[in-house]
């Protein structure tokens, strides 16, 4: 298996052994990611970090990953001041970036943008999130976190909570979990439940899931409680939003009856969906999860640039 020159666009493009290969390499990167060891693995390499939508964790962790491995970064952040704002097509912008760098990471408001970029760019393109589409490196760091905290992924029960309809993170993650043999509980009100086209894909991958509106059911059964933010603009009125958001809030009290080893994850940023008192429980893993973005992205960059086979 070789990753050299490959694009990372959709999680489904990665086979099970390829996912585990990335997680294994990421494991080796942890001391460098923490700054305990130094590395010049990517010395002389340039990452074009192209973020046409706001991002904190994804952009910073990609750039940290590059710097920790001795590489350099050129950045576009936001549409202001870029040629995209002046009406340049993404196809043209990406061919410009191709000339300036060795690898491109792209976040863009339109679904399919990374696939289009990969079509026009001979250098590896990594999808940093495309609209409501996919966010494969987030999924890889989520899988890394689950494996690191629980030992394995296969056979675990993951309750996905919150905005399952529009949240790209849970779309990518659910497809990967289906492929890797984890069971899922989709916890959300009907209005923001998992879209049928994702459920069909989960089924096609042989994935098992149940659908419920009950957070208690998720808490009771889960090895992993994966919480996402419920966005106000998805609801017809303020009252409906408050009702739903309130009933899906994770509190210390609400965790009574959960499995002892259960971990709580969140792609962040959170607003009110996890009460701060939960941060102090041993279940809370979301800040560790955010850190894990660095070693995982170090692994991905090293593999697609061919410095690790």
């Amino acid at each position: 298996m070789s990753f050299k020159g490959r694009d990372i666009i959709r999680i489904e493009d990665l086979k099970e052994d390829e996912i585990y290969k990335i997680l294994d390499v990421a494991e080796r990167m942890v001391p460098v990611a923490r700054g305990e060891e130094t590395s010049d693995l990517l010395y002389g390499k340039v990452l074009a970090s192209m973020f046409f939508e706001p991002s904190t964790r994804t952009r910073l962790s990609f750039e940290t990953a590059m710097h920790r491995l001795g590489g350099s970064v050129i950045t576009i952040s936001g549409q202001e001041g870029t040629s995209l704002k002046k009406g340049e097509t993404l196809a043209d912008t990406i061919r410009m970036a191709e000339g300036y760098s060795d690898v491109v990471v792209l976040r863009h408001p339109n679904e399919g943008a990374a696939a289009l970029a990969a079509h026009f760019c001979s250098k590896p393109v990594i999808n940093g999130g495309d609209g409501a589409g996919q966010h494969p490196t987030q999924t890889l760091l989520d899988l890394f976190t689950i494996r690191k905290e629980l030992g394995e992924i296969r056979g675990k029960t993951v309750a996905l909570v919150g905005d399952l309809r529009y949240g790209r993170t849970v779309h990518s993650l659910s497809l990967a979990l289906a492929r890797l043999g984890a069971k899922m509980i989709m916890v959300a009100p009907e209005l923001i439940q998992m879209p049928s086209y994702i459920l069909e894909e989960i089924e096609a991958l042989g994935g098992k899931y149940e659908i419920t509106e009950s957070l208690e059911r998720g808490v009771e059964e889960a090895d992993v409680l994966y919480v996402t933010r419920i966005q106000r603009e998805r609801f017809p009125d303020e009252e409906e939003y408050r009702k739903v958001a309130g009933s899906y809030r994770i509190t210390k009290e609400g965790l009574e009856g959960c499995k002892e080893h259960m971990i709580i994850m969140h792609p962040l940023p959170r607003v009110d969906e996890i009460s701060p008192e939960v941060d102090l429980t041993p279940h809370a893993k979301y800040f560790i999860q955010a850190f894990n973005g660095v070693p995982v992205r170090m692994a991905i960059l090293s593999l697609v640039l061919g410095v690790i086979e």
Binding site: N110, E111, A113, L116, Q134, Y197, E200
Partner: protein
């Protein structure tokens, strides 16, 4: 019931068993506007012995290629093609849904990059033929509403 009155053609293509009411869409997909100079006969909602109503299109003086014809399979999956030379059928076949649809149908997702101002043709892959399901190569969305998204 009267027989269908369209005169036989000497040379060209007859597309038979088109889903009733779809003949004009078929012509549009084939890029036939009437300005090419061929004689084109269109019969819509005519009685078929096999399947109730159907449409028929006859194009004189032009033999359509198989890959051109297959584009119409999305809206007329039961259509048959007759290639006519000197009033005789020299080749007859059914349409087949192609594996890849390039520039034929747009992705149903309005936020897909293929629906923005980019120098690409919509590109969708057929993932299931019955029922028809296609997947956008760009955004990955699987969709089944094909007819209304024809370009």
């Amino acid at each position: 019931m009267k027989e269908l009155k369209i005169t036989p053609i000497k040379d060209g293509t007859v597309i038979d068993h088109i889903t009733a009411g779809s003949a004009l869409k078929v012509l549009r997909i084939l890029g036939i506007t009437g300005e090419e100079g061929y004689t084109v006969s269109v019969a819509m909602n005519v009685l078929s012995k096999k399947e109730g109503l159907k449409d028929v299109v006859k194009i004189e003086g032009r033999e359509l290629k198989r890959e051109e014809i297959n584009k119409i399979s999305l809206i007329a999956p039961r259509a048959t093609i007759n290639i006519i030379r000197d009033y005789s059928v020299v080749n007859k076949y059914r349409v087949e849904i192609p594996d890849i649809l390039e520039g034929i149908v747009r992705c149903e997702n309005p936020n897909c990059i293929s629906n923005q101002r980019e120098p690409i043709q919509p590109l969708l892959k057929v993932v299931s033929r019955d029922p028809l399901k296609i997947r956008c190569i760009y955004c990955g969305r699987v969709q089944s509403q094909v007819a209304k998204n024809l370009l």
